[in-house]
Amino acid sequence: MSVNNVAIQETPMTQIDFEKVKKKQRTISFFKGMLFLLPSIILFSVFLFYPLVRTIYLSFFLTNAAGETTVFIGWQNYVNLFTSPIFLQSIKSTFLFVLYTVPITIIISLFLAMIANEKLKGIGFFRTVYSSTMGISVAAASVFWLYLFHPSIGLLNMVLKAIGADGIGWLTDPNWALFAVSITTIWMNLGFTFLILLGGLQSIDSYLYESADIDGAGYFYKVRRITIPMLSPTLFFVVTVTIINAFQTFGQIDILTQGGPVNSTNLVVYSIYREAFMNYKFGSASAQAVLLFIIILIMTFLQFKFGERKVHYQ
């Protein structure tokens, strides 16, 4: 600013030159910035923004097996979905699945993170074990549990029979299948959720606990009054991420149940996959994808809105 003022006082000519140079510099720095960002922008455009727009577009059409649009049908795909018992079942199963998996994942992970946050000898070993499921892929985890749930030779039914109970058709009984898939998912999610919560616990200032100790506060009092409140931003983040992940569940379903029995585990992403790549109804599948996008959008928005005090991106 002061440089500008000096320039005006001396000669108008330098003022103009100065502006010109500044403008040129701005153009150069703009191109430089774009050069650094261009690779990301191009890929986001091709594999994210364009497909998103295209999905919305497709959801208003009927398509052929190659995925080309044939007939514009407006909102009909959406109308069909909301009158289709299979899709309504899929939505119901998805929300039930979220309800089964999210709270239990958080409670178990929080428990693990709290006992693994104590300063004890060998604690590193336990932390490694608890985070281990993060390194286990969805395909491998599903195979592990596919055996555990096996009706005759699976470990769970063997244990049940050993104690005199009847075996359960974990993956074949419509009343149990979603529950079984949920157990698998909870186990798979533990590692990641545990790591994040442990990080949150470790960032709580230790003087809070020290002063509580001086006041003679008990363990559970400290948990209630210090740990949970101080951890709330992390908890909030973990809840949102777990919910979003639950809505995106696919691999477990594909290996364990293929959406069955009688569509009881046909979660929304599996339903999209089936509609698009088995039935070749890309329009209807796109309408489902748009609904999935809206659900995730709302979840992310809530995360930003209510988590914003602690989520600093700027």
Binding site: K32, G33, L52, T55, Y130, G135, A140, G251, F282, T300
Partner: protein, 271 residues
């Protein structure tokens, strides 16, 4: 402050029981992979242990090929993410230009689009490019990563601005500064992001299932599904051997990088 012995014992008991429960499925799979099919079928404890299942798994399925494919795809995705994220993060931290803030919000917005919701056009794009059954089809769609950009941006911001000013006086251009100063300083964060990228790529399932149709480029996760569905005799020992082979690289990576990963993920998530 030291803990009383009684409290210590309670914690150790809880820790050990929890560890057994959490690790049980993995441990079970590991033991089963060395057991004979007869022992598994009758539900007895292992009477003999051998590498037979591994020999069979490698003999009957192109597991080595699958492993190689997964390795290539994961490394390529990891490198792509590191390069693109660090370039973008550099622009957001060190360059000032018009529209930067708008672009930053565009990057945030990408986090709201789940890949699953745009999978249909993505599949058609890859198909129309002729990229089905190719490494580029499996990797390039995942190069741009908003999470990675945020993680590195957070780290780059801690580099003193004076360093850039000094380098400017010395006549150093932006790209040179990025290569010779910023990247070496941030190698810890780059490593964290690299481990994260490798883990998630190695474990990817839905996209490789769609984008591969033959064994030449099929990744090990889809290979495991093949192993599980084609294993006619219900030979669980062989299936578990396959599963153990699939998880060993990621488990090792996780054990080595656990501390850094935890720190990095928490920072990327909450700061």
């Amino acid at each position: 402050m030291t803990m009383p012995i009684s409290k210590k014992i309670i914690f150790y008991i809880l820790l050990i029981i929890s560890a057994l429960v959490v690790f049980a499925p993995t441990l079970m799979a590991f033991v089963m992979s060395f057991m004979s099919n007869k022992d598994i079928m009758t539900g007895s404890l292992p009477t003999s242990l051998s590498f037979d299942n591994y020999v069979k798994a490698f003999g009957q399925f192109p597991l080595l090929k699958y492993l190689f494919n997964s390795l290539i795809v994961s490394i390529v995705i990891m490198l792509g993410q590191l390069i693109l994220s660090s370039l973008a993060a550099y622009a957001f931290v060190f360059l000032e230009f018009k529209g930067r803030d708008v672009l930053f919000y565009v990057f945030i917005a990408t986090m709201m689009v789940p890949f699953e919701a745009s999978i249909i056009p993505n599949f058609h794009i890859i198909r129309d490019l002729g990229w089905i059954d190719t490494y580029q089809g499996l990797s390039i769609p995942f190069f741009a990563l908003a999470f990675g950009t945020f993680l590195l941006r957070q780290n780059f911001k801690q580099i003193p601005k004076e360093l850039r000013e000094a380098s400017q006086i010395a006549g150093m251009g932006d790209f040179k500064f990025y290569l010779s100063v910023v990247l070496p300083i941030s190698r810890t964060s780059l490593l964290t992001l690299g481990v994260y990228g490798f883990l998630t790529s190695w474990n990817m399932y839905l996209w490789p299932l769609l984008a591969t149709t033959n064994d030449n480029v099929r990744t090990v996760q889809i290979g495991l599904k093949q192993l599980q569905t084609q294993e006619q005799l219900n030979d669980w020992g062989v299936i578990m051997a396959g599963a153990i082979i699939v998880v060993i690289p990621t488990l090792i990576l996780l054990f080595l990088g656990q501390n850094k990963l935890q720190k990095g993920l928490t920072e990327g998530a909450l700061k």
